[in-house]
């Protein structure tokens, strides 16, 4: 049995725990989500993440059409977290197979992150560029 202190396994399990919290908290809190829309309130902007928390709450309840209407990127972003959870568990299981698994995991995770959060990444980069 691979010791828990194998760093790759430990990281994977801790991230899986975090992902479980991310996926469960909208289910538990419902519409009482504490995320403030400060960016919209201060600038009047409509960032691509606006309504994302509420959309997550709808997705975990199976109301996908409403979630899509709340935020058009919600399903895509949610997919990142939903896919990462089994990936983390698989990674923890396969950590013993060595460096190849680690590198493949890193590559796949980066690709998923970029693909699923692309609108948010682009918006963030543009916002950063406008500061300078």
């Amino acid at each position: 049995m691979l010791p828990l202190r194998n760093p790759y396994r430990a990281c994977s399990l801790l991230l899986a725990l975090g992902l479980t919290v991310v996926l469960l908290y909208p289910l538990l809190l419902g519409n009482r989500l504490p995320v403030p829309a400060m960016l919209s309130q201060l600038t009047g902007a409509h960032p691509p993440s606006r309504g994302l928390s509420r959309a997550f709450a709808l997705i975990v309840r199976g109301r996908l059409v409403e979630a899509q209407a709340m935020n058009p990127h919600a399903l895509r972003v949610f997919a990142f977290f939903a896919l990462q959870l089994p990936l983390r568990l698989l990674a923890a299981r396969w950590a013993i197979r060595g460096r190849a698994v680690l590198l493949a995991d890193i590559a796949l995770s980066v690709v998923l992150f970029v693909l699923c959060l692309w609108p948010l990444i682009v918006y963030t980069c543009r916002a950063m560029a406008s500061l300078f």
Binding site: A45, S49, L120
Partner: protein, 186 residues
């Protein structure tokens, strides 16, 4: 006779694991616009753990990969998060020092006339209904940056995207703000 041996993790490994996990969480949060500024919290904690891990690893000649990975990711996350906070502070300062006027067209003035301003955004890449436009007043030569609703104006603005937009007149009546533009080369 039992073989006794102790399996001790390399020095700094536990801190390194915690630092790396928090750094990954911070990095993901940093790229979500409304909550990016909060990424500084896990990022700060990750920074502490990663530094502790690195110091322990260096002192005891242990592997440093986890610590370095955590440090790199957390620095990126903290930079992005701090940039969000800076942007919000600037927006709040603009709103509090000069106020904002929003007409029924959704117009909001973001800067004073004469401020040094950046170029406009690119229309065909804009996903939302608002556009930052730099305009120069026709008489004083100063400039003001406006955020305008593009709905209904998109096609006209698209034609003018390559030029500066010279404000010919601004009329505000009955809650309706009308801005007339004239295209002109910079």
């Amino acid at each position: 006779m039992s073989n006794e041996y102790s399996i001790q993790p390399p020095a700094g490994q536990t801190s390194g694991i915690i630092g790396l996990v928090l750094a990954i969480i911070a990095l993901v949060l940093a790229f979500v616009p409304c909550i990016g500024m909060f990424a500084v919290i896990p990022g700060g904690i990750a920074l502490i753990f990663s530094v502790v891990s690195l110091v322990l690893a260096v002192n005891r000649n242990a592997p440093k990969g986890l610590a370095i990975g955590g440090l790199v990711l957390t620095m990126v996350a903290i930079c992005v998060s701090c940039a969000w906070m800076l942007g919000l502070v600037r927006a709040e300062r603009l709103n509090s020092t000069m106020g904002s006027s929003t007409g029924s067209s959704g117009l909001r003035v973001l800067a004073r006339i004469g401020d040094a301003l950046d170029a406009t955004g690119e229309l065909d890449e804009f996903e939302h209904e608002e556009l930052d436009v730099e305009v120069r007043t026709a008489d004083s030569g100063g400039s003001v940056r406006l955020r305008v609703r593009t709905k209904g104006l998109e096609e006209q603005l698209r034609l003018l995207a390559a030029d500066s937009l010279n404000v010919v007149s601004i009329q505000d009546s009955a809650g309706q703000t009308t801005i007339s533009f004239k295209s002109g080369r910079r």
